[in-house]
Structure formats: structure tokens, C-alpha cells
């Protein structure tokens, strides 16, 4: 099992965001679904320790998550946020920054951009000149530079129109085929979960209401 959550609880600003969450997330493609404000994004942030739960425990590959060095963990379990948040500069300088953090001396920018569905000529573009969809792909390329084992994707198409959404989904499906990479995807859209997920965890009001193979949960 990739992740195992037991009795996970989290309170923020006096509100219980996650309540006794028990869930298993296997390798492959998992979709975390549920209405807005259900706690999906918060749960995702716990998986690479951008936040820690107030209660309960999380295991990653059978070991407690907090026994991993958080910096090394985040390079192995990379989170791509809902809204693009690149560093100032060019796409290439962003890729080089990520490579530097992962201790890589050379970046195959063309390959990473290609995997994320961007033409290699985007490398020299200033990130402030990119559309939201292009920035989202640049974020994906930046994460792929570090060759993570798991990609955590927080509503990766929420800010995009339908054509851009379809393109990103096709990219993610291709990534699954070409790389040995697991995806954990947060989505408010059950149809997207159907298109991309193999395993589904459904959350409502901070509690897991259903979890299992796609065919069983979203039958």
C-alpha cells in the first residue's frame, strides 16, 4: 500500500477539517472526490507533509510518514497545487531550480516539457507571459524534473476551460503509461475521477464515506 491513513484528524481555525479519516491509497491512480470544502485538498497536503495531522497516523510504504526527512519526502511525493505558483523568471530557470534541489546537475528540459505537453521552445519563455493552462503544465514539468514516485495533483484542471482540461487529462494518462509514477488526484468532478482514477476515496464533511476500486465506488 502506498499510503495508509488511520484515525487522521485535523482542526484549523476552530473548524474540524478532517475527522477520523481511515483510508488506503494504493500505487496507481487514485482520485479523492467530494464536494467543495470536504477536506480533499487538506488531505492531499498531509501526504507530503506540507502539514501534519493533529491526530492519527499516516504511513507511506509501510513506514510512518513523519519518520521520513520532509525535504527528501517532498521530492519523492511531489504536490502540484491547484493554482500555478511558479518562481519569477523563465520556465527553464524554474526547471533548473527544481533540479538543483534534487541534486541533479543537468536538466533534460525538452523531455520534461514534452511529458507535460509543452513544446521545448517554452523553456525560454517568461512565466509571467504564459496562460494559466501553460503555467499548470510548466508546474507539472517542474515536478517531473525531480523524477518523483508519486504526483499529488490538487484539482489540476479546475482553472481551465474544457479543451485545456482534456489536454491535461490526456497528458496525465500518458504519464501513467510512460513513467512508473503513481497519481493521487483531488477532484470535485466524479467524471474526471472516472476518466483518470483506478481507485477512489470519497470524502464528505471531513470524513471518508467510501473507498475502493473505481468500479465499486463510482458504479
Amino acid at each position: 500500500m502506498l499510503f495508509e491513513l488511520r484515525e487522521v484528524g485535523l482542526v484549523r481555525g476552530g473548524r474540524r477539517v478532517l475527522d477520523s479519516v481511515d483510508a488506503e491509497i494504493p500505487a496507481g491512480a487514485t482520485a479523492i472526490v467530494g464536494p467543495s470544502g470536504a477536506g480533499k485538498s487538506t488531505l492531499l497536503r498531509l501526504l507530503n507533509r506540507l502539514a501534519d495531522p493533529d491526530e492519527g497516523a499516516i504511513d507511506f510504504r509501510g513506514r510512518p510518514l513523519d519518520s521520513y526527512d520532509p525535504l527528501a519526502l517532498r521530492r519523492e511525493v511531489s504536490l502540484v497545487p491547484q493554482l500555478p505558483a511558479l518562481l519569477e523568471g523563465t520556465v527553464e530557470s524554474n526547471l533548473e531550480y527544481a533540479a538543483g534541489l534534487a541534486g541533479k546537475e543537468e536538466v533534460d528540459a525538452g523531455r520534461c516539457l514534452g511529458l507535460a505537453g509543452l513544446d521545448p521552445e517554452f523553456a525560454g519563455r517568461d512565466v509571467s507571459k504564459l496562460s494559466v493552462g501553460e503555467q499548470q503544465r510548466a508546474m507539472l514539468a517542474r515536478a517531473l524534473v525531480q523524477e518523483p514516485a508519486v504526483l499529488l495533483l490538487d484539482e489540476p484542471t479546475a482553472a481551465l476551460d474544457r479543451a485545456a482540461r482534456d489536454a491535461i487529462e490526456a497528458t496525465l494518462a500518458r504519464l501513467r503509461e510512460e513513467l512508473e509514477i503513481s497519481l493521487v488526484l483531488v477532484s470535485h468532478d466524479p467524471e474526471q475521477a472516472r476518466r483518470l482514477g483506478e481507485w477512489v476515496v470519497r470524502i464528505e464533511e471531513g470524513r471518508v464515506t467510501d473507498a475502493g476500486p473505481l468500479a465499486e465506488v463510482l458504479a
Binding site: 501534519d52 531550480y97 534541489l101 517542474r142
Partner: protein
Amino acid sequence: MTTSIHLSLGQVAAALALVALAAAISFWRGADLERDIGVATLRSFVQLTLVGYALKLIFEADTLWLVFALLAVMVVFGALTARSRAKRVPGAFWPLLIALAVAGAATLGLVVALGVFEATPRYLVPVGGMVIGNAMTASAVALNRLGDEMAESRARIEATLSLGATGEEAGRPFVRRALRSGMITLIDSTKTTGLIFFPGTMVGMLLAGASPTDAVRLQLVLLYALLGSVSIAALTATGLAHRNFFSQAHQLREL
């Protein structure tokens, strides 16, 4: 030093005519600042009069311990004042206290060691006051900016942390901007000094009858000392305070 100016209390009171003019303009234009002008006038009178007597005592006692005690009080009050302007920075007091203390000690220590000033109360108290006052303003501006930048850039900082960056690495661009904003005012005013305005020390010395060359030299020494102390203070305050935004596990704290 000889002084050619001796002002009576009556002369000081006559200058209040200008305060009355300011209050009248405020009233006429509906700026609603009359009360603030009154409070500012009264406070400046009381505070400066008390400081005047305190300085008289300290100069007459001629002991460095009293000087250090006074400077320590200035550092503590400076840190408390600056903290109120850096509300979005968690635990800002200690970084500010250390920044002001280091800036004051390093600047005064250097000007004394280089023989610019003698280590006597007459030099250390006014120069120390200027150094700590300017260091306070610079570090307050820098931390105020740091707090705003960190709050407004949460998404970008967390995205950088997600790549395995340390808190320090993720916060670096914002620390850099905060540092610049803390130092830029004094740098700009140093650039234009003598062209657009005459700085206070020089004006004071000229009024007191010193030669213009002496006045300029002293002013230059003070400007350079202030540049040094402001840089040290802003650097120390931002360098220490930005760590408070992150947990041990390099997580951006909820503010």
C-alpha cells in the same frame, strides 16, 4: 564646543504660533487633525524636556554604565515599537531586539574603535540614539514588508516547499525584497542629502555656530554610521524573523 544659541522658554513658546497655524489649516480644510497636532505638541514638549534633564544628569555623572543603561532602554522600547508595526510576523520581538542591539553595538563600537568619536556620554548618547532610532525604523519597515509578502505569497512558498526546498530557500526572494524596502529609504535620502534637504545634525551644528566644513564632516560620519547600522539591523531582523514562519519540518505555519 561653543554655542551661539541660547533660547529662552518664551522663545520656544513663540514657535507655537506655527503649531497654531497648522491646527488652523487642519480646521479650515476639515482634516480633523487638530487633536493629533495638540497631542504631538504636548508629547514632544514633555518627552524632550525629560530627555534634556536626563542627558544633563548623564553628562554630569560622566559614567559609561549610565550610557549603556540608557541605550539598553532605547533598544527595548525600539523593539517594542517596531513589533507593533510587524504584526504579521510571528515572534517578531526577539529578532527586533537582537537586531537593534547588534546594530547599536556594532556601529558605536566601530566609530569608537576607529577614533571617530571618544567613548564619552556626550558622543555615545546622541549618536546611539540616532543609530538605534534609524535601525528601529528600518527593521520595522523590513519586517512589515516581510509579513505582507509571506502572507500574500503563501501559494508560491508552499509550491516551492513542495519541491523539497527548505523554509529558508522558499522564503529567500521575500526576505530579499523586505531587506531592500527596509534600507532603500535611507539610501535614497543619503543620495540626495545636501541637494534636496540639509540633514538635522548639520543644521543643528550650523545654528550652533560651527564652521560649515566641521558641520559637513560630522554629518558625513553620522550618515555613514547610519547606513551601516540600518543595514545591520534590517539584515539581522529579517534573517532571524523569517525562520519563525516555518516549522521544524519546513512547513509554512498558519498565521
